[in-house]
């Protein structure tokens, strides 16, 4: 299994892709997932994170088959 990673809006454009897959390993945090998917790019500031469509912090652990999403501040409404 693996972790699915989604990117949205300006972050998606900056990375040039909408999603990644990262191999699952025990004790993986959300920040680790970013680093595995983007080894050459530190996480930009002010980025929000969700796991399985709920907001989480960067230190939240992920489970196998989770979906992680990174995106800039929301601007709806």
């Amino acid at each position: 299994m693996s972790i699915t990673v989604h990117y949205f809006a300006s972050l998606k454009e900056r990375l040039g892709r909408a999603s990644d897959n990262v191999d699952f390993a025990p004790d993986l945090t959300v920040l680790d997932v970013w680093t595995l998917a983007n080894p050459d790019l530190p996480l930009p500031t002010a980025i929000l994170v969700a796991v399985n469509m709920d907001y989480v912090t960067l230190t939240t652990s992920v489970a196998d088959a989770d979906t992680v999403a990174f995106f800039p501040p929301v601007t709806g409404g």
Binding site: F8, S10, A50, P73, V74, T75, G76, G77
Partner: protein
């Protein structure tokens, strides 16, 4: 009820048809508080001719449902309707409709505003403006809705 719509949103039509089918409201509601957000033709000093609304399918609906559930725990709401545009929006087109029905007006006013603020700060939508100059740019962040045009920024 929560709806995302990819075609122009007519808030008056949405309200009329929602209320027509909401038979549980009959005789019960004394107050309806409604907010409609509409696209302007300028922003930050630039003429804007369109706006692409991106969202996170699935999470958007989940966040909006949680916002309504949270408001329902705080206020005596009889019903709530949220309709939000996605896709390409043009000036003077509505972007969002929030309506709350309650027995008394204090609950409707407070709940509608709280839902709108929670939507602006947490629902995963992103706006990319298409300027008249043919440049496009992402909107950076939403402002605090409790501030006024006359407040010092």
């Amino acid at each position: 009820m929560i709806k995302l719509c990819a075609t122009p949103l007519d808030p008056w039509q949405e309200l009329q048809s929602h209320q027509a089918t909401a038979t549980h409201l009959t005789g019960q509601y004394g107050a309806t508080s409604i907010f409609v957000g509409t696209m302007r033709d300028f922003n930050q000093g630039d003429a804007v001719k369109g706006m692409m609304l991106e969202h996170y399918p699935g999470m958007t609906e989940k966040v909006l449902a949680n916002i309504v559930a949270t408001a329902e725990r705080q206020w005596a709401m009889l019903d709530c309707l949220i309709v939000h545009r996605i896709g390409m929006v043009r000036p003077d087109q509505p972007i969002v409709l929030v309506a709350v029905w309650s027995a008394h007006r204090g609950d409707a006013f407070d709940a509608c505003r709280a839902i709108m603020e929670a939507l602006k700060s947490t629902a995963p939508f992103w706006k990319k403006e298409q300027l008249e100059s043919n440049r496009s740019r992402w909107v950076n962040s939403n402002s605090n809705g409790y501030l006024h045009a006359n407040d010092a920024m």
